[in-house]
């Protein structure tokens, strides 16, 4: 049987790949994609913990379901906001939303 730790390694790596992506991606949509990676990593965690450690109840299972749903909603709003940014600035690069600072 595959140990929980193995899954954890995968999810953690995926999580930080997502974080890395968030930090380096040059445009907003790319950043949004990185967020999806992060959420997937989290989901793996929930599912694996549920499956291997606490199979009595479906807590992690349901949680990951909800995360997927919320992620979808979030993405929808985020994309419409990005489109909005594009409409205003004709640009979706991160550097372009740099008016508000200091």
């Amino acid at each position: 049987m595959i140990p929980v730790e193995a899954y954890l390694v995968v999810s953690t790596l995926l999580f930080f790949i997502g974080v890395y992506g968030f930090l380096v991606r040059k445009n907003l949509i790319g950043i949004l994609m990185a967020v999806e990676l992060i959420l997937n990593a989290v989901n793996i965690n929930f599912v694996v913990f549920n499956r291997f450690l606490y199979p009595d109840h479906l807590e992690g299972y349901i949680y990951s379901l909800f995360v997927i749903v919320v992620a979808a909603a979030e993405t929808a709003i985020a994309i419409s906001i990005i489109i909005n940014v594009y409409r205003k600035l004709k640009d979706v690069r991160v550097d372009s939303i740099n008016e508000l600072k200091n």
Binding site: V19, F22, I31, V94, K101, N102
Partner: protein, 657 residues
């Protein structure tokens, strides 16, 4: 007794009320005719004088004499400020030989000055103010001499200081007067600080301010001081000595002893009558009075201090006399002469014994006697000088000369007073000064020699003054501006005071008057039989005669001998005429070291270091605020990075800390 008690408050209350009345409404009420203010003041003071005389006479001849000694009466004593149950400042009235004598001195001179000023100050701006302050001074001086406790004395001590300030700065438009007033006040204030510290030390140990308790004597000790302070040491010195020395320093300040003497010559910037009253007759002897008041303590518990006082006095008298020989401003000459004469009184006290068993017990009497006679003749001299200045509109000797034909009354009274101060028989100065010399001779030959020499110097410079004013060659300016005799109200005081100077003529009538002081005013208040020591008397007469003779030779007529002599001892002459540069030293210390060094440094320190530190704090937060502004870069990914690093750092901190 009851009468005295009932009358005594008048002596303090009347001048004070007069001060308030004249000070508050004088300007308004007497705007059209300021003289009325003067008359009211004089009238008030006459009442005070009468009451004072009455009390003094009653005390000396009726009430005062106890079984073997004069008693010390506390006529009233009102609690004024209660610090602890024992340390209470009261305002009271103590009647004993010296205070009774001082009542007479003060009221006499003050009355004379009041009368004199009616003429002298006539038409001056601030006439009412002048009389108000004179009343204040009289009040303060009276309060000082009748003090029942040392703190009351300190209170009035300060008050005479301030009235002196106000009188010196009477011509406040003149910068020199203002400077002199400031100098007088600050120098005496500086000395007062020592007085205060002395009081603090004394009261800390004895737990009382009361003179009666402090000066009570039994078994050859000032009991209270001996019991509480004996053996207490501070830095290797006896605490008693320290305290008493500090108290003496307070007196030295008021009495212009070296090195606090610098304020007195400058104080002559004030109106001349005020100088006569304050800076010649009364206030400046407060120091002598203080030491006399505390005499038992000095004598029994701090005799070493008394010795120091003696040497300081001797030095000061010599020092001032030398300077007096070179001054050309007549009021300054008189001022240095005052310093010198007061120093005499200190010497007398210093050499005195306590009871007639001790050697030189007449020193105390002599000191008080000299105080009395000096007050009279010096006031007379000053008032006379006032007349002269009034006449020639200058203080400088050069503006005078040959005035005897213009001002006969001034000439005669001035001459009599000069004789008195020179110690020529039969004028009052002879007796008092002679007793001092006798006492000094008995106690310490060095002091005697010094004082005898000073007596000669005194005679010299006083007659130098006299000749320069009344003889010498006439100032050509007088041709078109003839000096004239002063009005009557100025001359009467001169005459009255010179009569006092000549009081020794009464000796011819009765021996009692010769014994007047020795029978009544002694340290132990018992009295003794005074005998003239003719050896010393003749010696001092001779010395005085020599002095007068030299003055006669040099200054009777205009000649070049004085300049020649001055040329011979150029160095001495110049430094003496510059008062031995003591003022310059003071100026250096105050201006350069205290102001320029300490004050400026502290002010700088305050602005730049202390305040700078506070501003630095503000500056740091502001700068920090600007320095970290780029953290909020506006870049989304940097925000996330900050978030991540924050999480990691906090987690590490929480785990490993």
């Amino acid at each position: 007794m009851e009468t005295i008690t009932n009358l005594s408050p008048i002596i303090l209350a009347l001048p004070f009320l007069m001060f308030l009345f004249l000070g508050l409404c004088g300007n308004k009420l007497f705007k059209s005719n300021p003289n009325i203010a003067g008359w009211i003041g004089t009238a008030g003071l006459s009442v005070v004088a009468i009451v004072s005389y009455y009390i003094a006479i009653q005390y000396f001849w009726v009430e005062g004499k106890g079984a073997d000694a004069y008693q010390q009466f506390v006529l009233f004593n009102h609690e004024w400020l209660k610090m602890t149950d024992n340390l209470v400042i009261s305002i009271g009235f103590m009647l004993d030989p010296i205070s009774a004598m001082m009542l007479v001195v003060i009221s006499t001179v003050s009355l004379m000055v009041h009368i004199y000023s009616l003429g002298y100050m006539h038409g001056e701006e601030g006439f009412q103010r002048y009389y108000a302050v004179l009343s204040l001074f009289t009040f303060a001086m009276m309060g000082l001499v009748v003090a029942t406790n040392i703190f009351q004395m300190y209170i009035f001590w300060e008050l005479v200081g301030v009235s002196s300030f106000l009188l010196i700065s009477f011509y406040f438009i003149k910068p020199s007067a203002v400077a002199a007033a400031k100098k007088a006040f600050i120098v005496t204030r500086f000395a007062d600080m020592f007085f205060l510290i002395g009081i603090l030390i004394l009261s800390y140990y004895t737990n009382t301010f009361d003179f009666l308790k402090l000066t009570a004597v039994s078994d050859g000790h000032a009991t209270l001081v001996n019991n509480t302070m004996c053996g207490e040491m501070f830095m290797g010195l006896s605490v008693t000595s320290i305290a008493m020395f500090l108290i003496f320093l307070g007196g030295a300040g008021k009495s212009a002893m070296f090195p606090f003497h610098i304020w007195l010559p400058d104080a002559m910037e004030g109106p001349t009558p005020a100088s006569a009253l304050i800076h010649a007759a009364t206030m400046v002897v407060a120091g002598v009075f203080l030491v006399a008041r505390m005499f038992p303590v000095y004598f029994f518990e701090a005799h070493d201090v008394l010795t120091i006082i003696g040497y300081i006095g001797a030095f000061t008298s010599l020092f001032a006399a030398i300077i007096a020989c070179t001054q050309t401003d007549i009021k300054r000459v008189l001022a240095f002469s005052t310093i010198s004469q007061i120093a005499y009184m200190f010497v007398a006290l210093a050499v005195s014994g306590y009871t007639s068993e001790h050697e030189a017990c007449l020193g105390y009497t002599a000191s008080m006697w000299h105080l009395f006679t000096h007050a009279m003749f010096k006031a007379c001299l000053f008032l006379g000088a006032g007349c002269i200045i009034h006449a020639v509109h200058s203080n400088e000797m050069n503006a005078m000369g040959n005035l005897r034909k213009f001002m006969p009354i001034a000439h005669i009274t001035f001459g009599i007073s000069c004789l008195a101060i020179a110690g020529i028989l039969p004028f009052s100065g002879f007796y008092s000064k002679d007793e001092i010399l006798v006492a000094a001779f008995e106690h310490d030959k060095v002091l005697y020699a010094c004082q005898a020499f000073v007596a000669g110097l005194t005679a010299f410079y006083m007659f130098r003054l006299y000749f320069r004013i009344f003889w010498y060659s006439e100032n050509p300016a007088h041709a078109h501006h003839t000096p004239h005799e002063a009005p009557m109200n100025m001359n009467i005081p001169l005459i009255v005071l010179s009569v006092f100077t000549c009081y020794s003529f009464f000796n011819l009538v009765s021996n009692d008057s010769y014994q007047l002081f020795s029978s009544k005013i002694t340290a132990d208040r018992v009295g003794f039989e005074l005998e003239t020591n003719w050896t010393i008397a003749i010696a001092s007469l001779l010395v005085a005669g020599v002095g007068i003779a030299i003055a006669w030779v040099l200054y009777k007529e205009k000649n070049d001998k004085p300049d020649m002599i001055a040329g011979k001892v150029k160095c001495l002459y110049i430094s003496a005429s510059h008062r031995f540069y003591i003022d310059e030293i003071y100026l250096f210390i105050t201006r350069k070291i205290i102001f320029g060094g300490i004050c400026v440094a502290i002010a700088w320190f305050d602005r730049h270091i202390i305040d700078g530190f506070m501003n630095l704090l503000a500056w740091i937060s502001r700068e920090l605020s600007y320095d970290i502004r780029d953290v909020q870069s506006g870049n989304l990914q940097q925000y996330a990075w900050g978030f991540l690093v924050g999480v990691l750092a906090i987690a590490m901190f929480a785990i490993y800390y």
